[in-house]
């Protein structure tokens, strides 16, 4: 299997899907020169500017026009670059794309992929660092995907492009350069809604998604040296999310810790915690714990930015607390 970065994997996914299906096209700012993170590199050369189109800085219209074009049966990939910028186009996404299928009695579908990267990316400050995945998980009519590895970024993006409903596809800015094995096979996809067990263990379940998964794995390694076996689950998608997998794991371990980079208050971790509490009250050996960012904007200065992160140490300490109770 070839080694690729997270960004390259997404490029491969788009190239394969564009070759397979002429209805697929991409639109956004600076795509012509490969996207600001190189996530579209080489695509305009292969597919031309009609299919990989450079748009003016007009997020609301980019999104709205893509919704219209999707209703016509084309399959747009909309690049918003930062989830923060996508907020300029929330009406088009939330009021239009998410509602159209249901509100019109199933007469139209919106096969749209909105790429809007999330996450802290050293010193990007308050308007370029947000992780807003929970916002979209709250909206009926939207699929929400948060890939954490190069292979998933290929497989999930391909599934997102093939999906007939709008997908909010949230890559993590800090992962663009992450390398990993990625299947070359054109038919390789990762189904949306299936979690990945990154590491098995019987003492507690750690649920996470996006870049935070990697921190959880490091924490699990540290816990292992202290004799605690943590099972780490990468949700991969927040809607639909793999309840069955999480419930089965917690039934086995009796302990649940959720770790997320985004703000903890009203975050997706709360949904996971509530679901487990509702279903598995008797199986729980300790209270469910959540770790997430404080409800404060992200700062520019590194010490303040770091203070908002969920660190390996925090996960280790919290997990130990759970197991030792």
């Amino acid at each position: 299997m070839p080694f690729m970065t997270y960004a390259e994997a997404s490029r491969a996914a788009i190239a394969e899907e564009m070759r397979r299906d002429p209805a697929v096209w991409a639109v956004g700012e600076d795509l012509g020169r490969g996207g600001v993170f190189g996530q579209y590199k080489g695509l305009v050369e292969e597919f031309g500017p009609e299919r990989v189109s450079d748009a003016p800085i007009s997020e609301a219209c980019i999104m709205g026009a893509a919704v219209g074009a999707a209703m016509m049966g084309t399959r747009p990939i909309v690049e918003m670059r930062f989830s923060d910028f996508a907020l300029c186009a929330v009406d088009e996404l939330v009021n239009q794309a998410a509602k159209a299928r249901y509100m019109f009695g199933g007469q139209t579908r919106v096969p749209l992929v909105v790429r809007e990267p999330i996450g802290m990316w050293r010193s990007s400050a308050a308007q370029h660092s947000q992780s807003l995945e929970a916002w979209y998980a709250h909206i009926p009519g939207l699929v929400v995907v948060c890939p954490s590895t190069p292979a998933d970024n290929k497989g999930l993006l391909k599934s997102a492009i093939r999906c007939d409903d709008p997908v909010v596809y949230m890559e993590h800015k800090n992962l663009w350069g992450l390398e990993g094995e990625v299947p070359e096979d054109d038919d390789f996809t990762v189904p949306i809604g299936e979690a990945r067990v990154v590491r098995e263990g019987g003492d507690l379940t750690i649920v996470s998604w996006s870049a935070q998964v990697h921190v959880c794995v490091k924490a699990a390694e540290a816990l292992a040296t202290r004799g605690i076996k943590a099972e780490v689950i990468d949700l991969r998608s927040l809607w639909p999310w793999d309840k069955a997998r999480v419930l089965a794991s917690v039934e086995k371990t009796g302990r649940l810790l959720i770790a997320q980079e985004s703000v903890s208050v009203a975050g997706f971790g709360a949904e996971v915690a509530a679901t487990v509490a509702e279903r598995l009250h008797k199986a729980l050996k300790a209270p469910v714990k959540r770790l997430g960012a404080p409800r404060a904007p992200i700062s520019y200065a590194p010490p303040l930015e770091d203070a908002a992160r969920v660190s390996k140490e925090m996960i280790v300490n919290t997990a130990e607390g759970l197991v030792r109770t």
Binding site: P56, I57, S58, F85, C88, S123, Q127, A296, S299, A301
Partner: protein, 349 residues
């Protein structure tokens, strides 16, 4: 509040201009003092930005950092036309705007390095600073966002009838955002005192104006709202001040908004991480050699005003001293304490 009563309650002084008619004025000459002032102010921005670029290279500044080198005449000329109390608001390419507003170079540089003494206590960085005292309303990272906010500053001026004007700056790329046109309509409808200053530096990141704009004459962007507009040589500080005075007078006299397209150029990449491969070296060299805003003033000072090289060197030395002091402060001022995470979030509870 119905629009009619709004516009009627403060009757405009002076006759409205025909928005389609462009003035191509003879540029008023500067006095020697004005030339020296403009020279010093532009040089301060240039040296400050060069230092910021160096400090970025040394790892003292991180994240996003957008330099203003090449565009100095725009803010300096506008500030020479403005009055004390007029507001300034802009996007993320904001260092020059802050310096001409009279903000302390130490506080600006210390924000770039993310220190306690920075204007935002290290929380904002290069793109996000503010000074109520100097009427600078930010430093905004979302392209186009400042345009409706700047319209709101003008609304407050109108509401309080305080005679102030809002100077709202944005780029050629930002001019394609929808809220710009919502702002134009509202400002024209309510006759709000706002000058929309479009800094057309020919590129939005790597995208040349012609690749992103159906109408590249930005002075015409307000035509359908009856907003007068002018294209201005934004490399000539005299032309900027001239047009700035016309625009600001128009707004201050209650006739509504005004658009100035400043034709300018940025010498450096979009931000520190941009190698600017989308344009030729020649293009940059030509602009620098033939249109540099500082060099233009320098030549006039040495020629027409018979100022000696030594006098200019003294100015340069003073400017460098200010910038070095700022850099020194910004390097040694401590980083914020992690407890700052919890200040200024929301209610003090």
């Amino acid at each position: 509040m119905p629009a009619a009563s709004r516009a009627g309650s403060r009757a405009p002084k002076g006759t409205p201009r025909d928005p389609a008619k462009k003035t191509i004025p003879n540029v008023l000459q500067f006095s020697k003092e004005e030339e020296l002032h403009a020279y010093r102010e532009m040089l301060l921005i240039r040296r400050f930005e060069e230092k910021a670029g160096q400090m970025y290279g040394m790892g003292l500044i991180g994240g996003f950092c957008h330099l203003y080198i090449g565009q100095e005449a725009v803010v300096v000329g506008m500030q020479m036309a403005a009055q004390e109390g007029d507001q300034v608001i802009t996007g993320y390419r904001d260092h020059g705007h802050m310096l001409v507003c009279g903000m302390d170079p130490k506080g600006v540089m210390a924000e770039l390095t993310g220190r306690r003494g920075g204007y935002s206590k290290g929380k904002g960085g290069s793109m996000h600073m503010f000074s109520k005292e100097k009427n600078f309303f930010g430093g905004h990272g979302i392209v186009g966002a400042q345009v409706s906010l700047g319209t709101g500053l003008a609304f407050a001026n109108w509401y309080r009838n305080n005679g102030r004007v809002s100077l709202t700056y944005f780029g050629d790329g930002a001019a394609n955002q929808g809220q710009v046109y919502e702002s134009f309509n509202m400002a024209a409808l309510w006759k709000l005192p706002v000058v929309y200053i479009i800094e057309n530096n020919r590129y939005a990141m790597g995208t040349a104006v012609t690749r992103a704009s159906a109408q590249t004459d930005f002075s015409k962007r307000g035509l359908s709202f009856n907003i007068p507009g002018e294209q201005v040589d934004g490399m000539d500080v005299r032309a900027v001040r001239d047009a700035g005075r016309r625009a600001i007078d128009y707004c201050r006299s209650g006739q509504g908004p005004y658009i100035l397209e400043m034709q300018t150029y940025r010498y450096r990449g979009h931000s520190m991480s941009d190698p600017a491969k989308y344009r030729s070296k020649d293009e940059v060299t030509r602009m620098r050699e033939e249109h540099d805003p500082i060099e233009q003033v320098r030549r006039r000072l040495l020629g027409e005003w018979k100022v000696s090289e030594d006098e200019l060197k003294t100015i340069d030395a003073k400017v460098r001293e200010i910038v070095n002091e700022a850099a020194e402060f910004a390097t040694h001022d401590p980083e914020p304490d992690p407890s700052e995470l919890w200040t200024d979030v929301l209610l003090d509870a």
